[in-house]
Symmetry: C2
Subunit: 359 residues, 2 copies
């Protein structure tokens, strides 16, 4: 097991990564919670149904902590709206959870975003812990304190910065994940390498097979989480450097939305990174050939790379409501070479035009 510490002053917390037993997970959570008045475990209903790891986790928590009860969240993205948030809050209130209670979010990124946002606003904020069950959630959603849900106008347009008290990423949960979801998670691992860890990127390129075996996955996940922690602890509220984590996300979010969310987030980020690298090469910001290398790596991991086929005026127009936009400029992330990222503010119209010709 790897333990990474997120240094955020009096809101610092640990991230535990590895194949954890239910007892180990419960022990870590109980330690971080101190003396809660109750523990509300919010579990993605699909995870609750298919994963053999949920019941033992609940039992192990109940053996250590008071008032442990489970609430099933709507599956995946259907948890990411205010109506679902209201239902969860209603259940918390009816169940008597108070300011001394702690929420545990169990599931993928949608469940952890939902759980964190509920914790941020229920009774104006209570503590929470996260148990990510997908690769994407483990490397991305569970660290950084960004919580939130969607509104019709766009994804993650409402939310809060709220840090968990502990994250326990039991990679055993990945056993019930389809290969497509694993691949999508790997996109964020590749992103971490590209923006801040050249060695991680090189080690991924060195892999021959289509996925990391169980012996190498935990180390790669831990490295990707390390990147995120380093960036987030420098810039918790995304005022500056944290924006580099949005590499591939400006176009990625647009193509994800345009697909009607048929594309998984990681798949969209795969396309978004390739678009950003192509644009970088066209502008002379990115070292020539990096787009092709990355394309090879992403294809090998089973991720979509047909960015040319995906670009269209409709997709580019989706970038308008990107919340990173200030006024008429987009803060766009470029990777000059693996392990390095820079931010350029580009007028939206210019960006659209350049993307269309660069891709």
């Amino acid at each position: 097991m790897t333990i990474l510490s997120v240094p955020l002053g009096d809101r610092s917390y640990d991230v535990h990564i590895g194949t954890l037993t239910a007892e180990e997970t419960a022990e870590r959570l109980a330690e971080a919670m101190g003396n809660p008045s109750g523990v509300a475990v919010l579990v993605d209903e699909h995870v609750a149904e298919v994963s053999p790891r949920v019941a033992p986790l609940l039992a192990a928590l109940a053996a250590r902590l008071p008032c442990v009860r489970m609430f099933r969240l709507p599956r995946g993205e259907s948890a990411k709206n205010l109506a679902a948030v209201e239902r969860t809050c209603q259940w918390l209130a009816e169940s008597g959870y108070d300011r001394g209670s702690v929420i545990v979010g169990v599931g993928g990124g949608a469940a952890t975003d939902h759980a964190g946002f509920v914790a941020a606003i229920y009774l104006r904020g209570i503590a929470f812990a996260l148990c990510p069950t997908t690769l994407l959630a483990a490397v991305d959603a569970s660290v950084g304190g960004k919580t939130g849900v969607d509104i019709p106008a766009g994804k993650n347009l409402v939310g809060a910065f709220h840090q968990p008290c502990v994250v326990a990423a039991d990679l055993g949960f990945l056993g019930t994940l389809p290969g497509r979801a694993i691949a999508a998670g790997m996109a964020e691992v590749v992103k971490a390498g590209l923006v801040a860890d050249a060695e991680l990127f090189a080690s991924l390129e060195a892999i021959l097979g289509p996925a990391l075996g169980p012996e190498r996955l935990p180390a790669a996940v831990a490295r990707a989480v390390r990147v995120k922690i380093d960036v987030v602890s420098e810039d918790e509220r995304e005022r500056g450097r944290r924006a580099i984590l949005n590499f591939g996300h400006t176009f990625g979010h647009a193509v994800e939305a345009a697909s009607g969310y048929e594309l998984l987030h990681g798949e969209a980020v795969s396309l978004g990174m390739l678009a950003a690298l192509a644009l970088g090469e066209a502008r002379g910001v990115t070292v020539p050939g990096l787009a092709a290398r990355t394309r090879g790596l992403l294809a090998k991991l089973g991720l979509p790379v047909d960015v040319k086929a995906r670009v269209s005026p409709a997709v580019l127009d989706r970038m308008e409501v990107d919340k990173k936009r200030r006024s008429d400029k987009v803060r766009f992330v470029f990777v000059p070479r693996p392990g390095e990222a820079v931010l350029h503010d580009i007028p939206l119209a210019e960006l659209k035009q350049e993307l269309q010709s660069a891709i």
Copy 2:
């Protein structure tokens, strides 16, 4: 005009109180906002309809700031739910308001709670300013950074702590308020005197008429706001002393809910304060006779004082979901004598029993 400063480190802000012209209000807001990318003015639809002060305010803001647009919030309490919050956020996104934009909330406590909560969660938090238009909002809702809305299980069960960048309380807005709403606001002024300002309480007792004339009202409002600022700046997140502001609210919220919200908040607080004083006298915590004195004052102000007729097991049971409750105890506020408050943790069952016999 009185200017009170709320000292909260880098989130400090000023509260301007008086009969302000639209130009004065707009000037204060523009100064505090700096250089926003846009200004979204959320106005209670009833205020927008009846108050002659809204149109000049919008014009004065538009003369100084970019992209000033108005959105009408559902009237009063009907703005206090997540569905209404989602509609406002949707409008903000569709209108292109971004992280550099500022929200202005114009209305009573429901509108200011709604506006502040929207500002807390839209794009994970943007800046906001408040223009309270009721006496209650001026003395209570606009200071302290508590924002939030209701869910079916109870009032204010979801929300956030989020401080405005400025508050401009133009008491000219009170001109279109019914007398009942003015009286309800006075309940919070009386509360401020009772918990922390003996002189204010004495000056209110000295008044002969049923309400404060326009020449004395601004001073009383400013004193009540001063009390709130002092307490809030000591304890922003309500971990200790801030709880004294809940004087009269434990029973008050219960009786307000039990009335189906036919009682105004201030009317319910009037009853709640009398219940708390009666309980204090029965316990020997409160100086004998203070309940009767306060009853006389509240009755003179036109507030309901028939607390005996209002208490019932159903009302007392409503205290269960009070979010100030930790585990099975209620943190109850007593006033030993005017200007002084203490907190006692009382088991809920004991509290119910004592209240029933003390009232």
